[in-house]
Amino acid sequence: MKLPASIQVIERGWLSANNIVLHAPEGATLVDSGYGAHAPLTLALLEKALKGKPLARLINTHCHSDHMGGNAAIQGKYGCRTSVPAGEAPLIDRWDEQALILSIADQRAERFSYDDTFGDGDSLKMGELDWRVIAAPGHDTHAVTFHSPESRVLISGDALWENGFGAVFPQLFGRDTALQETRGTLDCISRLEVAIVIPGHGRPFTGVDAALERAFKRLDSYEEDITRLARHCVKVAFSFALLEKRSMPLADVPAYVGRVPMLADINRRYLGMTAAVFAGWLAADLERAGAVQRRDGMLVATGT
């Protein structure tokens, strides 16, 4: 099973989401722009992919820093039309650092503006294919996925990965329906004809049924015990921050996890550890997972 030749996936990592270039003679569409700090590389990759052809449109699956962080730089270079999910528009208008998960998680993105919005049920021409916009609340309340019935490709953003889905932060920040919404999103994907998923992170994959099964299992475990979700969310948020910084003195970790609101709030409300215990647990758990190493008094991101 192969992707249509007009779809080029630029597989990135965790700090930057994948960049998906949908080629068409009249101008390409880019889905998601990566993290702001990576914008120079993203621009170089995009230039390589476009081979001198115009970029007509930039579209986001949702507006988290790893998906929209390169928007401003790409607009600056290409002056392309920019479209975001309708639910994200007010957050972008007022640049809501909390709802966009920026300063509250020690993340950064350059402010940008958009030209128009799209929502559930809309049809979008991206590249040579027609895509249906499907609401995908959960990880981000306003996120969408894009489905091409003709090619049976799903651009899933962070709603479905080969192994799991993006951390459901909203459930812990006042939206107590977010896990339920995640279930609805997975149910909705399971009803689509999908041969290949292009996720926001990781390689494109077939075997959508097996991926859905893993996702539902994970969701069940969060619903059984909400502190599992809380632990997962702080690990994701902290390792993301460490990927950007690359390293942090071990002695600074307790103050850091006590200062960054997303980490401190989740700990206070769901985990109840002291800052020192919280910091020690995070470091040990991420070390066990191979995401960090201790070296010369520093906590160092391994990058994976």
Binding site: K2, Q8, N18, H38, P204, A301
Partner: protein, 64 residues
């Protein structure tokens, strides 16, 4: 499905380690040591092509 038809989706992990910054002198990413062409093309490479890229990386490590 033949083996060759499966190859593009076989699991060869990307060497990206999230540094994602080009070195202007070497024209290699400072993190994964790939060229722009290799990063842009990665997702569409066959498993054999991916292995060939990976095999070149150790020799590109900056000399201490």
């Amino acid at each position: 499905m033949s083996e060759s038809a499966k190859l593009p989706l076989e699991d060869i992990a990307s060497p990206c380690n999230n540094i994602c910054r080009m070195n202007p002198e070497t024209q290699l990413c400072e993190g994964c040591l790939r060229t722009i062409d290799e990063i842009a093309a990665w997702s569409g490479l066959s498993a054999r092509e991916k292995r060939a890229v990976l095999a070149q990386l150790p020799a590109r490590k900056p000399k201490p």
